[in-house]
Symmetry: C2
Subunit: 231 residues, 2 copies
């Protein structure tokens, strides 16, 4: 029986990667259109994760760094200022809920403890949750610096009865599904058309608690099915 | 009786502001030495708090913004790169514990739930706690986007028996002491020689649960004194 259901936020409950992709495209345009900049930017982001962690502020700093490196220090300050304006725009972007987010969370909250487990910048994730209108539906919110098996063990112990009776739902196999499975929980993948290269991983097909659904709208049936099956 | 004691981290358990001041001084040198830049930088930080929240990454972005504005867009990319290098250095700075931090937390942890309540960037605060060697002494860690009365009410409900039987200890009247008092907890001020202008506030002298100590080393006596008095 599932007592606690954890939801990833970005690209699980609401659109997020699309704003990064749009900003990336504007960034490349701004620097003259070389498509090779995408790879350089992704490399900078990856290299800087250990310094900056996940989130928009680190992305802004990686864009600035890439602009300086790719132009061999020739980029002008007005371009840097424009990059910062683009980043601040991301920090204000409106929330577009994904199909089913509200009704599914509301329905499952009746019989389960539902929580959000998300990484990124603290203030930005809180802002998005507040603007999503979903905040009051959740019994708890965990904004974390990374998603490891320990992250899930701790969150499900804090908000539920431990990982054994918990389920994690998200669009990232690498961050949402695989470490939750390793912690002993169910791991439900809801693929999103856009997923950051960093979050790619092989599907853990052999894991007995791994499930895939096409949309959050399929989640209540999955949860009820597991429950029936386990009786 | 006090069941739960919350500690601020930066400039309460370990040095922090000193690294900001050193970086500020280097920033001003880098831009030619105009001391008026300090005010401009502080204004940018304050203006950007709502976008970036607290922490080093926002400070880096505010330094870059100030450099661009103060030079009317003439600052060169190598200077921006140097600002970013200074920021990354802050994210790696070694931890210097303040006097008594370890022994006082260790002693109070025997009879109380001791927790850290800190704002700033998630990953950076986790890194500092890990490097401080104090991590295992604490029963809980709350890294928060801001410190309001609700923050304290929630943290002390989660980790203790509520704010009524809790105490918050920190160097900032504005963030650590006053909102904790407003939540109904004890608020203990441990002044630090360097405190960011943003954190200044009038001492809440009329509040019956307000206390001031010169050093963390005075905290056990204060806690025991309160306990004796309340009997």
């Amino acid at each position: 029986m599932i007592t606690c259901i954890g939801f990833d936020a970005d690209d699980t409950l609401w659109q997020n990667e699309t704003f990064f992709r749009l900003t990336e495209a504007r960034f490349i345009d701004l620097l003259g259109g070389d498509p090779g900049l995408t790879d350089r930017l992704h490399e900078a982001e990856k290299r800087n994760l250990g310094h900056y962690g996940f989130g928009v502020k680190g992305f802004m700093l990686s864009m600035i760094e890439t602009a300086i490196e790719a132009t061999e220090g020739q980029v002008g300050a007005p371009v840097i200022a424009e990059i910062m304006a683009m980043g601040r725009e991301m920090l204000r972007h409106p929330i577009h809920l994904l199909p089913g987010a509200e009704e599914v969370v509301r329905a499952l909250a009746q019989d389960h403890r539902v929580i959000v487990i998300t990484k990124g910048d603290l203030l930005d994730q809180e802002r998005k949750l507040a603007q999503s209108g979903l905040g009051d539906l959740f019994h708890g919110v965990e904004i974390v610096s990374d998603k490891t098996p320990e992250t899930y063990a701790r969150a499900f112990a804090r908000h539920g009865a431990g990982a054994e009776t918990a389920m994690m739902v998200g669009n990232s196999l690498k961050s949402d599904v695989i470490p939750a499975l390793q912690a002993g929980a169910w791991g439900v993948h809801v693929p999103h058309a856009l997923t950051w290269a960093y979050e790619h991983a092989e599907p853990p097909l052999a894991a007995p608690r791994f499930r895939v659904i096409n949309s959050l709208l399929d989640l209540p049936n999955l949860v009820n099915g597991l429950f029936t099956y386990n009786r």
